[in-house]
Symmetry: C2
Subunit: 290 residues, 2 copies
């Protein structure tokens, strides 16, 4: 929508603080005294980001995980969250999921606001973390000659979503209880040139990173680790919600963890992305656009 | 609702971090390195906190002002905000109001999230400030023998709300464009024993402060400065949205600004509040309960 585009551009124009420089990163980097804070806010709306019949414990977990994944991509250590909660429905299950998620991330509930409302519910969460490495990495630093890496298989959340119908808990946890890669982010922050979490699909997010870095990523799609069978590779590359980390690093860098090399960084050509040598079809949305 | 009560109690039980100690204050006080951060989050829902036909610029202004008022009550200096925005309706007016409010408070838009949704819209705002005085004052510190003060007249927002129908802009600005008392809060922080902003009505908030401080406030209601005619005093004492500051201080303290002495702090008796010597009627809600 052009109205929406104008709105977002107007918001962007307002975000002139140096901390908001990388607004595309979904996070603010704020120097406060001797510390560098990482701040992020994500909202979830019933009917858009979750369904009315979903277990509210899973919704709370995911709300936390989404924010934690933004912190992970900055190499941040989680400190706490503030919750904006709309009362209605299974609030006690929501608290249960929130409790589990905060325990998992060793992160505190610091405060927030509880409101009443009618119609579709929405929740907002602000997460605060402290940088473990400065300068804090962004998605804009990929350099020509770097290699492109991903931390783990994609498409697990896709299988999990499908397993929701079959009731196989082992599989659907990948969708209902995604885990942000906090430790991995902290290990990677000192060595990456660019990093982001994959929330909307590998190809879409790789496209964003290449654009932000003003380079082209030449992806070797066969090298991307995937969770589903080979026949579903194209889908796995475009499905979101896996929260793996996508990063670039010098091709000779000594990686502190296992990661998969899936491409290389070239000077910017006509397309920010080359898939096995060719630009993607213009009709290809590459991932989950929202 | 008992379900709502259980839910809020459960949330409270989760908020074990020292920064969330005074969860009733609507703010978290977080020591980060050499600085003390103040964090607050407020949400506004269409049909509950604002009406569909309201100017969205005013809605944005109020969302910022509500959060800034929480910072004011901590003597904090605003640093920035993160916005959770649901697209739909007059988003450009929203941005306009947001721009005006952030300029007024010299506060930056640091980031946030923009989501689509259907049905009533909701917005969340997280504000971050730095303490200008430590220990950061809370609403729990009123001492027996202190005097109770308010910074200015109450009921101006009530008149403004009514003027919305008559179109008298001079008056309705008090309702549509409330101003948080940031400078006043910074001046008061070093000398108060307890402080909070009045968002839900003087009497209701005074009752909360007295409860939190485990004392009784004996209020001399005739001494409360009010904006409307004398005949509407009872309403003015119960109407919210004025964002004046309510505080207690030693009765001999040298106040750094003009404030009105409206009561005194007594040892806790049967009621946290005495109005001209008598406990309020148990049916009296004292203010805006939500």
């Amino acid at each position: 929508m052009s109205g929406e585009h104008d709105f977002i551009e107007s918001l962007r124009a307002l975000a002139t603080h140096p901390a908001a420089r990388n607004l595309e990163d979904d996070t603010a980097v704020l120097e406060i005294g001797s510390e560098t804070l990482i701040l992020t806010h994500d909202a979830m709306v019933e009917g858009v980001h979750f369904l009315s019949d979903q277990d509210m414990a899973d919704v709370a977990w995911k709300l936390v995980a989404t924010n934690m994944s933004d912190l992970a991509a900055k190499g941040a250590k989680p400190v706490g969250v503030l919750l904006g909660h709309m009362i209605g429905g299974d609030d006690m299950r929501f608290v249960q999921g929130l409790r589990e998620a905060l325990r998992h991330y060793d992160c505190a509930l610091l405060g927030g606001d509880t409101v009443s409302g009618s119609g579709p519910r929405s929740f907002g969460l602000t997460a605060i973390g402290t940088a473990t490495h400065t300068p804090v990495p962004s998605r804009a630093g990929a350099k020509v000659g770097d290699a492109v890496y991903v931390t783990g298989p994609l498409g697990a959340a896709m299988l999990g979503f499908e397993a929701l119908k079959t009731g196989d808990e082992d599989e659907f946890c990948a969708f209902t209880r995604p885990k942000a890669l906090i430790e991995e982010g902290q290990l990677l922050a000192p060595i990456v040139t660019a990093i982001m979490d994959i929330s909307d699909g590998l190809l879409l997010d790789a496209n964003r990173m290449a654009k932000a870095s003003k380079v082209t990523f030449a992806m070797d799609t066969a090298k991307v680790p995937i969770a589903p069978p080979e026949s579903r590779r194209e889908e796995a590359l475009r499905w979101g919600d896996d929260y793996q980390l996508l990063f670039t690093a010098n091709r000779d860098a000594d990686l502190p963890l296992l990661a998969y090399r899936i491409g290389e960084v070239l000077p910017r050509s006509t397309s920010p992305l080359l898939l096995d040598g060719s630009p993607p079809d213009p009709q290809d949305t590459l991932g989950y656009q929202h």
